[in-house]
Symmetry: C2
Subunit: 228 residues, 2 copies
Amino acid sequence: MAIKLYDLCSADKNSRFSPACWRTRMALAHKGLEVETVPTLFSEIRSIEGGGQTTVPVIADGDTVMRESFDIAVFLERAYPELPSLFRGEGGIRTSQFMHWWTNATVDSQIARFCILDIYNGLDEKDKSYFRQSRETRFKRPLEQVQDRSEEAVVRFRESLLPLRLTISKQDFIGGDVPIYADYCIFGSFQWGRMVSDFAFLETDDPVAKWFERCLDLFDGLGRNAKV
Amino acid sequence: MAIKLYDLCSADKNSRFSPACWRTRMALAHKGLEVETVPTLFSEIRSIEGGGQTTVPVIADGDTVMRESFDIAVFLERAYPELPSLFRGEGGIRTSQFMHWWTNATVDSQIARFCILDIYNGLDEKDKSYFRQSRETRFKRPLEQVQDRSEEAVVRFRESLLPLRLTISKQDFIGGDVPIYADYCIFGSFQWGRMVSDFAFLETDDPVAKWFERCLDLFDGLGRNAKV
């Protein structure tokens, strides 16, 4: 039976843009598990699987309901140890937890500032007031003032990617020859930006951009084919 | 036979302050390997083990000479698989490489700016001109203008530690209940600051400061006892 993935969508139900949901989508593909994605609006999250959820991704694997992208990845690793490993050992889980926080604190926070109006404009009408209110509370200013594509912001973003750039400059993936969960974790953030916006965060000759292109090609172009 | 560790020292040969050497020192202790440290001035690095070295740490394990802290840790893991694991699996090695670069790019670069004059003042007279020249080339200004302990710089430093803070707020070490190489990698940077300076980078109630205190206690206080 396919694993259900409640997957955030915009007004176009085929546009799945959540960075956290992309982490889970890629993790499921890495494991080769069959998935049924359920397009989910922000305003529908509270009614998922009988209620009680506040964020996506949420997966339902038979009777097991799990949330939080990192916890889902660890669940999949332990529930399906015979399928290709996401973490390649317990140490990989521990250090990937750090990389999860690095991605949130460093990558997501900056991409949000580049794209927040694009995200807002793409949302279903039912989600717009929730999104505006929650994000304006978080950033303490109107969405129109959150978005910042100044050269200074772009340069700072590119500089902050140095640890990733140094890691993947001489190898295809963070995992070496093959991707691991840490790749999907960071990929999710760039795919988020790609799904909602045409803004160019990266220079095309940046090793990070080339790594992202390799990730887009994985699993028969799962990431690349999501946007036409 | 003990493994030789060529360990950077200041004018006081007992003061070992290199962040990279501390990574190796802790990795050797984690493996429970016997070590003989060789105090080494900057100006002595080129004559280590017959010449050809440009940086420390360098280790000599019998006939095998290795350099670069990360490569040394991987070497120790593979050469002594029966001793306590530094990485807990291949995935841990891959993601720890990212954390090595994060530590260099984020932690070391900022601690250098807090402490560079303290480092300089503690050096042996034979090392001072090399240090001044190489660091002034790197930072493109006099040492006296590199050092920056402004409140803005301190706040930015503390904020940049968020991924580490989130990781160790609910567990003792990045490795969970037990430390792994990723802990030693970042520990080395804070120990560097502690060895050369009394400047308080961290607030004492910061979870990062508490994690650092736990690291200082490891291996019968190996880190703590290095400074009296």
